[in-house]
């Protein structure tokens, strides 16, 4: 199997893979494929540089970074070793599995949010304990539909959530939303949003306090009421306001119009 076949098989499989390419220097154009188990295909020209770059690529892959790094022809990387030697520029491109979005509550807003999340490349799971609502037919755009309660969902799968992932709780029902919030807080999910009016939110804070969710750090992680203040009403408009908030949370921006500020855009 050629390097391209090995590489593309991993990408299709949604399993993490780094594609490493010499873009300048000896053996320009040669490639190597690196996964969490190590080098799985190709070579950059000699075993020394393969070993050094393979190790570095693994680190970049774990961090999900794509960048250019510089080496000597045999993988030399300290500044002293690079004096008076030819430089090899290496492009390390990380391909990570898609980020996850778990949506709790099989409601109208869920279908719109799942659609918008798919546009952004999320792997979307819809979760609701009510069998008649949580069906594939109602959510054909979701990657997965689970009929279960929040607590077992988080106990069994919560370890999969990382800072790139989002949990959106749209249930509107205290039986579901408090356990879902508790479960989400126990994960590393980068975004936790909970739907509800300001009144619902105030009541929910009381119920959360009853189960011991009171720390400022926990409360700061919860976006509630969910979404940016775009003034929209439809499920689709609401979905846009939710994913807008998810993006702004990730980038640390305050989501005001670019026209109202003068900083760098990218």
């Amino acid at each position: 199997m050629g390097s391209y076949q090995t590489f593309s098989a991993h990408v299709r499989d949604n399993s993490p893979v780094a594609l490493v390419t010499v873009i300048e220097g000896p053996h320009v154009g040669s490639t190597m494929v690196v996964t969490p188990v190590g080098i799985v295909g190709g070579s950059l020209g000699n075993s020394d540089i393969d070993r050094v770059v393979g190790r570095d690529a693994l680190g970049e892959l774990e961090a999900g970074r794509t960048l250019v790094r510089h080496y000597g022809p045999h993988g030399e990387s300290t500044p002293e070793d690079l004096i008076d030697t030819e430089t090899v520029r290496i492009f390390i491109e990380s391909f990570s599995p898609p980020p996850l979005m778990w949506i709790f509550g099989a409601v109208d807003f869920t279908a719109a949010l799942a659609r918008v999340a798919k546009v952004l490349g999320y792997h979307v799971t819809v979760c609701d304990a009510r069998e008649v609502f949580a069906t594939r037919r109602r959510f054909p755009m979701a990657d997965d539909v689970k009929v279960t309660w929040p607590t077992p969902m988080f106990t069994e799968n919560g370890h999969r959530l990382s800072s790139r992932d989002a949990v959106c709780i749209l249930t509107h029902d205290p039986k579901f939303d408090v356990p879902a919030i508790q479960g989400a807080l126990a994960t590393s999910a980068g975004y936790i949003g909970v739907m509800g009016s300001r009144k619902t939110h105030a009541k929910r804070l009381e119920r959360m306090a009853e189960v011991g969710i009171t720390s400022a750090a926990d409360l700061a992680r919860i976006h509630s009421p969910i979404g940016l203040d775009l003034g929209g009403r439809t499920p689709e408009e609401t979905a846009i306001s939710i994913v807008g908030e998810i993006i702004a949370t990730r980038t640390g921006r305050n989501a005001s119009p670019l026209g109202a500020s003068d900083g760098a855009i990218h």
Binding site: G2, S3, Y4, S8, V11, R12, L19, T21, I23, E24, V28, G29, S30, T31, G42, T66, L67, V68, R89, F91, E93, F95, A264, I265, H266
Partner: protein
């Protein structure tokens, strides 16, 4: 690159040669970051994009020159710099560095 795989597979199944162009670095403002990719086959058919449409046609010419062997695999730069006036650039004023190579690995 993820989004290019099915076109690349189809072209390779048809026996077409393919070049890939990948953004390796951006200086200043740029519409797509490092990793944005575009594939071009020997007939000039295109999959994917590397900018907001600013440099794609120039990338096709470069890719075809590399596929035909007129040019080696290399880093190609588009944008504005003091000593060189490039024919094409990014309307947003950034500089984009692309690595273009035949897909022969």
């Amino acid at each position: 690159m993820r989004e290019l795989l099915s076109d690349i597979d189809r072209w390779q199944t048809d026996g077409k040669r393919v070049a890939i162009a990948r953004v390796v670095d951006i200086e200043g403002s740029g519409p797509r970051g490092a990793g944005a990719a575009m594939a071009v086959n020997q007939d000039g058919e295109v999959s994917g994009s590397v900018s907001g449409g600013c440099v794609e046609s120039a990338v096709v010419s470069e890719a075809l020159a590399i596929l035909s062997g007129e040019q080696p695999s290399r880093v190609v730069t588009f944008g504005y710099s003091d000593d060189e006036a490039f024919a094409v650039g990014l309307t947003c004023g950034g500089i984009i560095h692309l690595f273009i190579q035949p897909l022969e690995w």
